[in-house]
Symmetry: C2
Subunit: 240 residues, 2 copies
């Protein structure tokens, strides 16, 4: 029984990694679509959305089935809950990629103007954040997750700079207002992707450290559930 | 044991309702702050954020403890998972209220200009969506949740209209660009609040119908876990 449960956990991890790959791909495509004004890539992002949505549901169901299958140990429980949270964030990363693709589709119809914003660079940094947040999940490493949290400040600054420059553009060049607004919204969408990567990193920390915290610092608080239990808290249900 | 678990579920529900109240209040305050250009209310929203964040963590911990305490039945499991998802959405509603308050603080520093957008009306509609999504949760009623999903289309249209009108304003009135942009971003934030209300409504449907689905349509799929079980699926763990 235990082995089948462990197998289920491994499957869940694999499913989430595939989902992460899809979300990362969507962001990369949207970013590249912006750089190349590439309608094809925009459409690939739009078409990819339903795959991501299906994947989200599949992962939620798998997590549910695991919780229903066996009373998990605290560390596994935290892992499963972290997976469902990361899952939501990845789905929303996909939504942001769709938003970006829609902005790019709007831009493609407008005359090309020079804009004082380096979306390609910001997008690359954001993609790296998503990738590293997934790595921190794969490796279960808090240090990697912490690095993601620090990158978020850099992205916030990039977005603020973009905001200031693009508002200036809108004020001074009425002919470029709509393009500048599109770029501003893309910057904002990228910032939101970074926020989701940050959430993922926080969930990894919750998963990895949370179990540690429960084993050590908060042992007393949970003594009621698992009196004197030295290792991972084995939940006390199934006794009724 | 069962009674203590049920008490825990009730507490969880109460906690989530309080959290919902905080999130709803934050949106209402932010909307009112926009209408009245009221710096005080903006600050109340900013200060309220940490309360919402604390509340989110508290609910996640309570959900975790319930899952660890006892192997829940499928219907309770879906409820607990729905709570954790609704919890995230409410926290993000709070974030959006903060974003709105920040935009309003920017606007307050700028000259008043007439803008072709009825943020008060859009805000009222969005607040109603949040309220109804919480009602659908309290009552466990799919019809109420469905009504929320339908309202989302109305909000999307309002946002699109606001977008079109405000871009026109930016093009034609350079002196109003920044105010128009602030209003546009507020409209976008409100749309995102509506998206979260939609997510909440979907989670209510997942919780209420999901259990039905498991009891009836998908009974076969889950027969392995609860062979021949006619009622709520009692998970088969704790046997190893």
């Amino acid at each position: 029984m235990r082995t089948r449960f462990q197998q289920g956990l491994d499957d869940l991890r694999q499913k989430l990694l595939r989902m992460g790959g899809l979300a990362e791909q969507a962001v990369d495509r949207a970013r590249q679509a912006y750089v190349d004004r590439d309608l094809n890539r925009c459409q690939m992002v739009l078409e990819g959305e339903s795959l991501i949505n299906d994947s989200e549901r599949e992962i939620d169901e798998a997590a549910f089935d695991l919780l229903a299958m066996q009373q998990p140990m605290a560390v596994d429980l935290r892992f499963i809950l972290a997976v469902t949270k990361i899952n939501s964030d990845l789905e929303r990363v996909g939504d942001q990629a769709v938003n970006i693709a829609e902005r790019v589709m709007d831009m493609i119809e407008l005359p090309v103007v020079d804009l004082p914003v380096d979306i390609a660079r910001m997008g690359a940094a954001v993609s790296a954040m998503v990738r590293r947040s997934l790595e921190s999940f794969i490796e279960g490493k808090v240090e990697l997750a912490q690095a993601v949290l620090e990158m978020d400040n850099v992205i916030d600054r990039m977005k603020d700079d973009a905001f200031i420059q693009l508002v200036k553009t809108m004020n001074q060049r009425p002919e470029a207002v709509r393009q500048a607004l599109d770029a501003l919204l893309v910057a904002r969408n990228l910032e939101r992707v970074a926020d989701h990567a940050t959430n993922i990193a926080e969930d990894v920390i919750f998963w990895v450290q949370g179990s540690d915290v429960r084993h050590n610092v908060n042992a007393e608080e949970h003594a009621e559930h698992a009196p004197g239990h030295p290792g991972p808290v084995r939940a006390s249900g199934g006794l009724d």
